[in-house]
Symmetry: C2
Subunit: 200 residues, 2 copies
């Protein structure tokens, strides 16, 4: 075993794994793979239903600080955006400018704290108009992360083309897949996760 690696997965209901009867979601699947690979990992799932980038920003530093003690390899995986682009009362819950600013603030706070970041982009749901807005935000998030030299895994377009993901979302509540959907998403992120963990 190498370094004592602590990872907080922070974001929305997809991070929490809502819909997965195994209660793992993609985050739990990635954690299990790392343990099987011999990484001395402690994983904390801090996904919360309905949360936007603004909600995540409000609790991010306090919750992660509880779980990332000095002397460990401290890391954060971020994933949100689907709730930002959701329409309520005639507009998105968070407008794209604010979503972008929230992500930038999260990256800045992580850098200040010395927490390494991996960002996983927002997923598609069973609503074409909503997905179009999310795809635009995904592109924006990718640019922000590139500028900050943060690894960004864009999954939106691939999942839109995944028969398994889209079937699972429709068979679920229109947003959250069951276990096979989370399998697909975890496999997409896996090589990026492994590369990121290998970097010090």
């Amino acid at each position: 075993m190498g370094a004592d690696v602590r990872v907080c997965f922070v974001g929305d209901s997809f991070v929490a794994g809502v819909g997965d009867p195994l209660l793992l979601g993609w985050a739990g699947r990635l954690g299990g793979r790392a343990l099987a690979d011999g990484v001395a990992l402690t994983a904390y799932n801090l996904g919360v239903r309905r949360q936007t980038s603004a909600d995540v920003l409000a609790r991010f530093t306090a919750e992660c600080a509880q779980r990332l003690p000095a002397g460990t390899d401290r890391r954060v995986v971020l994933s949100f955006g689907v709730n930002d682009t959701m329409h309520e009362n005639g507009g998105p819950r968070v407008d794209p400018e604010t979503s972008a600013a929230n992500l930038a603030a999260l990256l800045e706070r992580s850098a200040e704290q010395g927490w390494r970041v991996l960002m996983v982009g927002p997923v598609p749901v069973d609503d074409a108009a909503h997905n179009a807005r999310t795809a635009a935000l995904d592109a924006r998030f990718a640019e922000i992360c590139a500028a900050a030299e943060i690894s960004y895994v864009s999954v939106h377009e691939v999942l839109l083309g995944s028969a398994v993901w889209m079937r699972e979302v429709r068979a679920g509540d229109g947003a959250h897949p069951g276990a096979p959907g989370y399998d697909v998403l975890a496999e997409l992120v896996l090589p990026h996760w492994q590369d990121w963990l290998a970097r010090r």
Copy 2:
């Protein structure tokens, strides 16, 4: 599906499931059983390594409030104590009087917020003197919960007599079992968990 049930599992590394290659721990196993039984459950694991009752109290209200929105069936499962009774610098990290006061404060805050509570007592580790202190705290916690009419599941004595639990703890890091140990603990708590979920 019935009510929209939200449960936060709050406590220490045993709650977090440290040592379990499946990343579920006893909390994840109980959550999976409830989903299989048709409960519309969202489970949040808020176990954190090394945390005492004082650490839990410091973050309890803020972290649970993020996850237990109005209009849902809001619940909390508490479990801590092994880190309180751990000796460091010649004494326990938290003295029993303070541990008791911290539990009482957690129950009071939960009542104020309208969060139903189930408490699971602290487990034994591979250290007889430490276990003796934990057993005394377990009895104290049971009294406090009885007085507050809160369901308390004492597991300490049964796990001390469990060949599987004690073997798993010794085979691990001296404190945390692997999957078979968490299976045993989850089975012990299961009937209490199911009764508690059935109560409104």
